[in-house]
């Protein structure tokens, strides 16, 4: 599913690598908890996995496809087809309705739209079903996304990441803006939906208490050699 080898990445203008991973393998359908303190390169790794960033050295393969082998436009299309992404917050376009936010994915990916149509008859029906499943009733669907609470917005983001059954769902600290009760219900929901869709879930958080619910746990500080204190 995800194969990364001999990864080296540094931000433009930086003199030192911020990420150096020798090997990283994540199997299909697995849920992986990736944790590490701030600055350990979590967001950078996610950028590399999603093909938004390209490594300076080494390669990242998603579904056997090397990101670096694709042109910029093809990378964007490949990501739209196979990756769902959930941010920490501000996931939604405030000027679109809840339903349109979920359908955004299908606008950019014909593959995801076809899959959504295949599951529920139409992309819209699929989005509605997903919203139902994340606990957002029909009354909210036509509301502008800006009127929703933070917890509701994260659920919409989850529905958007999941529509059209992407092979990979990446969640970048999606619960850090939520309180404990909301966090737990969101976690349960996300894990369940990913399992149902057969999607691999890469979940990033600095909150290690969440780790127990995942198939695998990955401590970035141990994997990333660049994050080690520069002793020598």
């Amino acid at each position: 599913m995800i194969d990364a080898e001999a990864l080296r990445y540094r931000w433009p203008g930086s003199r030192e690598d911020c990420l150096a991973i020798d090997s990283l393998h994540i199997g299909a359908g697995r849920s992986v908890f990736l944790h590490g303190p701030s600055g350990s390169g979590k967001s950078t790794l996610l950028g590399l996995l999603a093909g938004v960033l390209l490594p300076r050295e080494g390669r990242v393969r998603l579904l056997g496809q090397d990101w670096a082998a694709l042109s910029g436009a093809r990378r964007d299309a490949f990501r739209a087809d196979h990756v769902g992404y959930i941010f920490q917050q501000f996931n939604l376009l405030p000027y679109l309705s809840v339903l349109d936010n979920v359908l955004l994915t299908c606008r950019f990916s014909a593959l995801r739209r076809r899959r959504a149509e295949a599951t529920a008859g139409s992309a819209r029906a699929s989005a509605e079903a997903l919203l139902e499943r994340v606990g957002l009733g029909a009354a909210l669907w036509t509301r502008p996304a800006s009127q929703l609470s933070v917890g509701q917005q994260q659920r919409v983001a989850a529905a958007r990441a999941l529509i059209g059954q992407p092979e990979l769902v990446i969640a970048d600290e999606p619960t850090s803006a939520l309180d404990a009760a909301l966090r737990d219900s969101f976690m349960a929901l996300l894990l369940q939906q990913c399992r149902d869709a057969g999607s691999t879930l890469v979940f990033v958080s600095h909150d290690e208490r969440l780790a127990a619910q995942f198939d695998e746990t990955l401590a970035l500080a141990q994997v990333n050699r660049a994050a080690l204190p520069q002793a020598a």
């Binding site: 967001s43 938004v52 087809d81 941010f87 501000f90 376009l93 679109l96 955004l104 994915t105 606008r107």
Partner: protein, 424 residues
Amino acid sequence: MKAILGIALRSAWSRRGTLVLVLLSVALSTVLLLGVERLRSEVRDSFSQSVSGTDLIVGARGGALQLLLYAVFRVGGATNNVRIDSLEAVAKHRAVAWMVPLSLGDSHRGFPVLATTPGYFEHFRYGDRQPLQLAQGRPFSGDLPGLYEVVLGAEVADRLGYRLGDPLTLSHGGGEMPGAEHADKPFHVVGILQRTGTPVDRSLHISLQAMEAIHLDWVAGVPLPGQKISAEQARAADLTPTQVTAALIGLKNRAAVFAVQRAVADYEGEALMAVLPGVALDELWDVVGAGERALLAMSALVAVVSLAGLVAVVLAGLNERRRELAVLRAVGAAPRHVLLMLAAEGAGITLLGVLFGVAVLAVAIAALAPWLQSAYGISLTLSAPSAAQWGLLGAVLAAGFMASLVPGWRAYRLSLADGLSPRS
């Protein structure tokens, strides 16, 4: 492609408050730019339309432009008079078809009085060689019984509410001296001309003999003290004019125009000059051209400023929109989509602004045309944009589109650099 444009539209709509202001400033600069160009070409047209079919204007030697402005447009300073026998001598040139003397100087409530011969109504042409037409009545007769007859231009009749048979008196000079009235010799209206859109509309036409008659008891611009010649007594006097302001000349064959011009210049009895109206108009455009260009340049600057405002507003909003761009990137939008989105926003606002400006201008022309016509004699009509105006519109649109690429490019760079996590 369609997806991103739809999103761009919704995004712009959510920020409509600011964008409407930008749109208005683009519209305003369009109005200015087009309005100035429109006014410029209309003024030129109405000047060029004012005299046609006249091959030469003969007057006292002096400035060609001054003669044209005074004799045809009734503006500017009076030129020296010429003797009528000199003009009659010129008219004997074998190439000359007709000669119509003009005498100016008096006025009626601010409108100029033109003394001429009945031949004026026959020979004068305006616009596309159209003759003067009477809306009502007839031309003045030019004989003794019809001495105090006056024919009004359309504007004079409209503004002052005169009808056929109404009496009126003339003022000496421009009417600026109180009491300098030819009150003792009232005229009556015998004809009203159809509207022409030229200075003819603003003129009162009387015969040369009538001009002589009202000045019988005047010398050097003031009434002779103790001498009163009544209107009836004047009919008995010798009313043959001796001096006039200028004359319009038509030729049998235009090819002779330079020969006649030379003959007039060489006339020995008096220092005369013959002016080709078209050449004098060109001289006028040379004079006012610099002003026109300055005006157009100012309007162009206003357009540039408003487009700069557009760029500034879209750029300033960009930082707050980095989240929005990251979300779009996360759902699969490419940086080129982001570029397209921002560029489309700017180009769309420019387009709407230009369209709105054109509409505002059309409404303004419709609303202000009567006032412009009556106050300045400029006839503006609603019409499709001319080639020059299309050019200006195209230039604004092209500049707007180019300017929109600036925030588009910036957003493109930002979304490449930010990836999915905006770093602020």
